[in-house]
Symmetry: C2
Subunit: 238 residues, 2 copies
Amino acid sequence: MPVASSANQTAKASPSKTVRAPAAQRGATRLQVDQAVRNALLTGRFVPGKAVTLRGLAQELGVSPMPVREVIQGLAAERALDVKPNGRVQVPEMTADRFSEILKARLLLETELSCMAMENLDNTDAKELTSIDLDIDESIISGNAEAYMRLNHLFHFRIYRASNSSILLPLVESLWLQFAPYMRTVYGRVGTVNLIDQHKEAIHAISNKNADALRNAITADIQDGMGMIGREGLPPEA
Amino acid sequence: MPVASSANQTAKASPSKTVRAPAAQRGATRLQVDQAVRNALLTGRFVPGKAVTLRGLAQELGVSPMPVREVIQGLAAERALDVKPNGRVQVPEMTADRFSEILKARLLLETELSCMAMENLDNTDAKELTSIDLDIDESIISGNAEAYMRLNHLFHFRIYRASNSSILLPLVESLWLQFAPYMRTVYGRVGTVNLIDQHKEAIHAISNKNADALRNAITADIQDGMGMIGREGLPPEA
DNA sequence: CTGTTTATTTTGTGATCACAAAATTGAGAA
DNA sequence: TTCTCAATTTTGTGATCACAAAATAAACAG
């Protein structure tokens, strides 16, 4: 899945004379790498434990190792990637401690975020969320875990983004990057059919402009989605 | 303040033959740059709006621009540095919205963190915290804002670190990196003598193993430290 | 076949380079 | 002076290189 124009790669014609494509805009390559890796993490295409190598990712995306290095450093700072003591980078493994702490943090921050968002949400947003939720239902019954994760993220952050938050929102985004790869492995084990859709009540709360109801719906959604794991055997390995 | 051995810099002897120092260990240079910038931010030596340039920082620390690039990317991902649309990097400016949100996030996360830490804190920790607090008192009366900020960070995170948290702790660290530079400008304006020391009660709560009391003390400390700004004129500029 | 040791490959790290976009400076005209 | 525009410098970006540590593969001895 090359992300850059083919003229960009293998730019080695004459010595000490590197030809470069016009470069659509400043930092476009890094941005594309960043989005590619983020999407891969959020949709579970990067499995916990998976090794992430500079040259590997660079070749896979059709770019030089340079922008990949910077993106990896950024994602490592967000704890979305794990830099081992020997420098190797991998998708973090989940542990029981990490999981329960993420659950706690999500409940704390995402309920707050949804309350903040409430005052800026109107019926137009409710309709959009309804549309997304329909796609979510479809992804659940069809067992398309990747689509489910993408849409579920879209649903939640469509709400949170209305909060106009510049502090809490990035923190929550970091949390999602951390637990998403593990959730994907859970869906692979127990499927997606067991998922309960708590989104209907969230939409209803938004339509009624009831902040408390939205808070409860978000709480229920988080606890349903992640609490399920508690009954399945939390730690993937001891 | 060169951070690397003098043998490392100006390593340009013969063409295409770079001499390198034995390299104490893997990633040591980047780690030193990272700690240097983090300390500068946390102690307020980097003022909001200050431009952070690759070559500038690299030369100041006596390293090549390479490790600086990676560190900056990491700190930008933690919102500790602000990457403008044109690629320039600077210490973030504070706004009223950001400030109140940071305050809210601190109250949410740091109280939780202190409660988690309580069960692992013993009298040895209390004595250490007392020692730190004495130094804090001294820094306040002497008006040494930089020392105060360093010690205050040390005090809080000595507590939080006992929580053995791997999720919430990095989030809070990100918050401190974000508000520290601004706080320094406030201390420069109104001085440090107005600061109220709420740490005594926190230490007392730890000695008594009273989680609720610790929560209250941390809450009071945060609100005292940051609530003061509300009476001084929050936004540095509109 | 098993365990150990050596050779090979992979991989992160620091450094340097070339280039373009952007900011800054400088000169000249009104 | 003040404005405008060209020249210069600064700065981030992508690319490539050299090196060492680490991981893997390959020999080899038992």
